[in-house]
């Protein structure tokens, strides 16, 4: 398979994630879309790592996975505390910091 196929897959996955972040109101689905975007970046890094025969892409991906896991934990804890405070999932209703 040529390299560009994997890069197109990563680009499409990233695009779907961007659409999810920008259009959905449900905060849990926004977090899922962020995970989709991180996965797209990982696909791109690993395909470059394979086609350039360089291990650094895979090391980067390992760290990205670690950071993504902690990001998911913090994000979902925020969702739970937000639900306790405001009883809502709706991102549009969480506008305390909005001027």
């Amino acid at each position: 398979m040529p390299l560009s196929w994997y890069l197109v897959f990563g680009a499409l996955l990233f695009m779907i994630g961007v659409v999810g972040v920008l259009t959905r109101r449900n905060v849990i689905i926004v977090l899922m879309s962020i995970e989709l975007m991180l996965n797209a970046v990982n696909v791109t890094l690993i395909s470059f790592s394979h086609y350039l025969q360089d291990l650094r892409g895979q090391i980067f991906t390992l760290f990205i996975i670690a950071v993504a896991a902690s990001e998911a934990a913090i994000g979902l804890a925020l969702v739970i505390s937000m639900y306790r405070g405001k009883s809502t999932f709706n991102l549009d209703e969480v506008n305390v910091l909005k001027w």
């Binding site: 398979m1 560009s4 197109v8 659409v19 394979h50 760290f63 902690s70 709706n90």
Partner: protein, 190 residues
Amino acid sequence: MVFFFLLFTIAGLASAVMVVTRKNVMHAALFLLLTFACVGATYVMLRAELLAAVQVLVYAGAVMVLFLFAILLVNMPEAVRLRQWTRQTAVAVVLAGLTGLWLIIATVRAFTGFAAPPEAATQPLGTPRAIGEALFSDYVLPFEIASLILLAAMVGAIVLARETAREEERPTEALSGPPQPDAQEDQQPV
């Protein structure tokens, strides 16, 4: 090989679209699981077997369990009833589509005909031994920082998710004086 590539990428992209469009959060989470599995399969095709295993363990295992717990801890029916899409949906889709189109054109123009070196097919690059040696020699500082980030995330998640529970317990403790015997059961070692 081309068949499997198309199978896993098309399944992954289709389930990613389902994640973004489903109304029910639980359905979206299950489609996200399918997307993670398909992305892990493409890692195997790129000869990154260790990362495919990490993908399944961390994403399809840990992150997915976190999502399912969060979904189960909050009230699902309300989330299905609320308006699902923001007002700027059309603009966002157009902008994201243009960005994706630009990315695809740029990568296809830059990397068409870029083939893997012949040794890529014979010797896998990301063996556990190679990644372990790199992690503990050249990348030992990022490795330690990653462990600190995980510790901070763990403490932060506990603090964020427990805050209101602690405030609810405080007045009952003040009223009832000494803690009740059944209240201490939680603290016994398991």
